[in-house]
Every structure is written in C-alpha cells, then in structure tokens.
C-alpha cells in the first residue's frame, strides 16, 4: 500500500491522518519529490467512508471491490497535484481500465498506465494510482509523470489482466480502449444500450473498434444462463416495440434499442455484442 501505513490504519477513526502515526522516513512516496512537497496530512478512507471522500461517484469503486484510498496533495508554490492510491480486494486492472482516459497514451508505470493531458492512471497488484494536476501550469505533464514515477515504487507488485480480455477481437480494436467489468454501473457507462438489455452476467469486457462500434463480451456462469439472457434481451426488445431480427442459424440476434443496433452472437457461456449507432 502506498504511504506505508498498514501498521496503524486499523486503530484510528476514518479519515485516518498520517501525523503522529508514522515517521516521515517511512513514508512512501516521500514527503518531497523533486520540487514538490507533501501538503497536510495523508487522508485514508476505508470501505463505506469512501462516500465521505467522493460525494456521488463512489459507487463505481465499490463495484470494483474498493477497500481503501489514501489521498495526499503535493504543492510547488501555487501549483498542486493530488495523489490517490485506491486499494481493491483483487487485482486493480478493472478499476484502472474503467477510470483511465480513453484518449490518453500508454506509459510504463506499474503494470501499465495511461497519461492524459493533466492526469495519469496506473495500476499494480490491487492498487490503482491516480495522479491529477489540480491547477494549470507550464510543466504540468512532466510534473504528473515525475510524481507518478515516485509513487510507482510504492505500489504492491503482481497482478494480471483478466483472461476475458482475450475474447475481444484483436482486428480493429482501438488500443487502450479495453474495459473490464463485473457490475452494472460499469457496463451502463461502457455500453449503455447493452446494459439495458443484458443482466446476470458474471464479468464482461469491452473495447472500441476502429469502425466506431463497441465490442462487448459478457460471460455467464454457464451456457444455459447465457441462452436465457439472450432470450430475455429479445423479450425486452419485443415488449418495447424495438426491432428484433432473427438470423437463419438462430445463433445470432440483432436488436434495435434506443437508437442503437446490437448484433449478438453466443458461444457456450459467452455472448459477444457489437454495439453501433443506427446511423452507422
């Protein structure tokens, strides 16, 4: 965990403050990073206390198995950068893939990172680091990366990307657009039309396609559950008067929903969706 506070986290009411809890020597990242200095105390929020830190929007972190977040602000004159280290109950790739910029570029930090114009996400093991410039200044991008590099050495090692990502087609996939999810709120944001139709899946992965489509792969517990989910989606479409097109082999269904067209194909306990706007 970042900020190396394990020994004292359990003993304090949240938010836990670093002062008096640990010596500066044990802090990781350090209080000073280049010209940047830690301002104030590190705040730590555990479990439902995330709602104290994030008012609206905390649900997505819980959906991905949130355990705690440590927050520290760094300042240099009038400039400031926030560091947030989220710890999840499993590998942090999922929340990383959801939270990162969809238009950023890859950086080699932790197991993988994405840098956008004023912020940076990267993950390692169960931890997600989010480095955000809070104000505008000349060397903003370099400063965010500098602090990110200092934080990277503090994260727990390990972690692997979920196997389900391998089910996404490689041809035409937009690099860095992959999102892994296990819950409703994530799919609602990643592929809203699919979220309306498909429920009960155990995990999913999505990615952009160069055609403009969104590719979504959903996995159910078994084939029977996947078939039932496909039938339920069909019922929902028919009940709302949306278009449903059966293909000859019966293995692929085409839905129209909310201005989108979804082409669904099943294989064992997986359903692959190609989601596109109807004008495409």
């Amino acid at each position: 965990m970042a900020f190396h506070l394990r020994a004292c986290t359990a003993a304090f009411t949240i938010p836990l403050l670093v002062a008096g809890c640990t010596s500066p020597e044990s802090l990781c990242p350090p209080k000073d990073i280049g010209m940047w200095s830690a301002e104030g105390e590190t705040e730590i929020y555990i479990g439902d206390d995330l709602f104290i830190y994030i008012n609206g929007g905390a649900e997505i972190y819980h959906e991905y198995g949130f355990v705690q977040v440590a927050v520290q602000r760094y300042v240099r004159g009038g400039d400031s950068i926030s560091v947030e280290i989220y710890t999840m109950d499993g590998d942090a790739f999922g929340i990383y893939s959801f939270a990162r910029s969809s238009s950023g570029h890859a950086v080699k930090l932790g197991n993988g990172g994405t840098s956008a114009d004023y912020y940076l996400h990267f993950w390692s093991g169960p931890e997600l680091a989010v480095i955000t410039a809070e104000s505008e200044f000349d060397d903003l991008g370099a400063a965010v990366l500098e602090i990110g590099a200092a934080v990277a050495g503090c994260l727990q090692p390990g972690g692997v990307e979920p196997d389900l990502l391998d089910q996404l087609p490689n041809d035409g996939r937009v690099p860095g657009s992959e999102v892994y999810f296990t819950g409703r709120l994530a799919i609602l944001n990643v592929a809203r039309p699919a979220a309306v139709l498909f429920t009960g899946f155990e995990e999913g992965a999505a990615a952009g396609h160069e055609s403009g489509e969104h590719i979504v792969v959903l996995r159910w517990a078994d084939k029977a559950a996947a078939v039932e989910a496909l039938q339920e989606a069909r019922r929902l479409c028919e009940a709302s008067g949306e278009v449903v097109v059966e293909t000859e082999d019966g293995g692929v269904a085409e839905f129209g929903t909310g201005g989108h067209r979804i082409l669904a194909s099943g294989s064992e306990n997986l359903i692959t969706l190609r989601v596109q706007r109807e004008e495409q």
Binding site: P15, E43, F51, I52, Y53, I54, N55, G56, G57, A58, E59, I60, R73, S80, S82, A99, S101, S102, S103, A116, D117, Y118, Y119, V130, T132, A133, E134, G183, R184, L185, L188, N189, A195, V196, T199
Partner: protein, 312 residues
C-alpha cells in the same frame, strides 16, 4: 447602434449574438442599464474567459441582483463542491461573485448550505475565496434529525419520502449554483441533481441501490421526484467555465472549456441547455426528461427564450 462596450465588457452586437445554433430564441434589444422591451428571459448565457464578469453579466441580464435580493433578506446558496479535480466543483470565483452581489444588494445574511464535510470545500478552494466574503458556512448535521424535514412526495413515481435539510426553506431567496458535468450514473448533472446536496445523504444512496433492471433508471426518476417537493430556486447560476465531460462527477476525466455561465429559474431548461455542452440533448438525459414530464420546466430549447452574450 453603437458597439461601445458597457461596464461589463459586452458590446451590443455581442449581446444579441446568435444562439441560433442551439435553436434558441433570442431576446434581442436593450443593453445593460436600459429598460428592455423584450419578453422576459428564461436563460441568460454569458461566454468569456472571466468567470466573475460572466456571472455578473447573466444576473444583470435578468434585471440585476436587485430583481432577486432586496435589503434585509436572507439568501441561501447551494454550490456543488466535489473536490480538487478540475471541472468538478462550482468555480469558487462564481460563488464569491454571487455572494458579493447579494451583499451589495443589502442581503442581511448569505448562507452557504451543505451537509458535506468541510474538506470538500477546502479541496475545491471554495472556502478560501468565500471566507471573508461575509457568507456564513452552514454545515447541517446529517445525524441530527431535528435539522431535517420529512417530505412526502405525492407526485413521485419512484420516491415516496425524502428528508431535506430544513434550513433550505428558511430563507427569502434561494440560489442554486451547480456545475454542469458528466455523471457516470445519470450521464449529466446540473441544476436538478444539485438538490441531492440538500437531501439526506443516507436517502440519496437509496436512489440507486443496484443499477439492475428497473432500478437502472431509478436514480434519475428519484431526482426528478425530489425536485417536486424541494424549495424552488429563485435563481440558478450554473458554472460551465471548465467542465468534466467524462468520468464524472469526480473525475479526473476529459475536460471541456465552454467558458460559460448560465442563469435562469427553469431547472429543466437550464439542464437541457447544459446537456448540450456535453454533446447531449435534454431528452437524452432521463432525469431531465422525467422532470419535464412532472411539469418542472421546459425541455425543448426551441421554446426557451435564451439570450447569449459575449463578455470581454
């Protein structure tokens, strides 16, 4: 017609500049300091790099702060303070400008209301700018039931009861001060959703227990329902200077800089306009459509009298 700038840095030409791209009906005519012959405005929209000037301009377009606040009155304000990530909190300068205008108009007291921890306001830097302005920070205790009013929601389609802090109603003037931005649950947050800053946080979390099935859109209906019982705004001043367009409401995410401040009274119209800044229409946002269905305001911007102005 002269193009000489008035005290707000706005030219007559700018003042009547087209908002036609958004399908808006312009209220053309008088510049500041003149009696307008145009019909009353629904929305005033100021575009420019200076948030303070924009804020002053939109209020002036509605007749000036004196049209809303009279000497001796108590004013409640409700900014959105989310945190330090860019584009997530109501611009502190906007808040300070409104407070200063209210004070200048002779307000006896300006009260900035919240149930949130002070840390939100520290992080968003609102506290630094508003401290010293004379506004009183009122932090409602969510654990003290005496500070909350229980509302039945007779028009509610999803919400039957809701607690809202009592002090919201205990004023002469209420000014809602949202920021327009993305929201992962409802796609958009603005005037309507900002009222969740006045409803009890425990009740708020029941708006969206699972995002499953029918529950998927429950939060949006709950927000519309909430708006049927809370105190109506006397004025809304919305921040659209720098806004989060993805990964909202907390970010960090993509940022847009519309450099606009919008003022009006119609919550639905304001949010419908705000949605366009995120590439949406009001009807795309279920919460806005639900509120329109409940008679809370106009969703069709073609029917809304909008005055757009450039502010130098």
């Amino acid at each position: 017609m002269s193009d000489k700038k008035n005290g707000h840095g706005i030219t007559r030409r700018d003042f009547v500049a087209a908002g036609a791209a958004a399908g808006t009906l312009l209220a053309t005519g008088a510049g500041f300091g003149e009696q307008s012959q145009a019909p009353p405005l629904d929305l005033a929209v100021a575009h420019g790099p200076d948030v303070a000037k924009n804020t002053a301009a939109v209020i002036e377009a509605h007749g000036g702060i004196g049209a809303f606040v009279r000497p001796g009155q108590v004013v409640n304000i409700l900014p959105n303070a989310q945190g330090s990530h860019p584009g997530t909190s109501t611009d502190p300068v906007l808040v300070r400008t409104v407070v200063d205008l209210c004070k200048k108009a002779g307000a006896k007291e300006v009260r900035w209301l919240t149930w949130q921890s002070e840390k939100y306001f520290e992080r968003s830097n609102i506290d630094k700018l508003v401290t010293g302005s004379g506004a009183n920070f009122i932090q409602v205790d969510s654990n003290d039931e005496s500070q909350w009013k229980n509302f039945d929601v007779p028009k509610g389609l999803a919400l039957e009861k809701i607690r809202v802090f009592k002090i919201l109603e205990e004023c002469d003037v209420f000014i809602n001060m949202p920021i327009f931005k993305d929201h992962i649950g409802s796609r958009f947050t603005g005037s309507l959703k900002n009222y969740m800053g006045a409803s009890h946080p425990t009740d708020n979390r029941l708006f969206h227990p699972s995002f499953e099935g029918e529950d998927l859109l429950r939060m949006e209906q709950c927000i519309a329902d909430l708006n049927t019982v809370v105190r109506k705004p006397d004025l809304i001043v919305a921040d659209a200077m720098t806004i989060l367009t993805s990964k909202g409401p907390f970010g960090p995410g993509d940022i847009a800089k519309p450099q606009k401040v919008i003022a009006g009274i119609d919550r639905v119209a304001l949010d419908s306009y705000g949605a366009t800044l995120l590439g949406l229409e009001g009807k795309d946002v279920t919460m806005i459509a639900d509120a329109h269905q409940l008679g809370l305001g106009e969703i069709d911007l073609g029917k809304v009298r909008i005055q757009e102005m450039e502010v130098g």
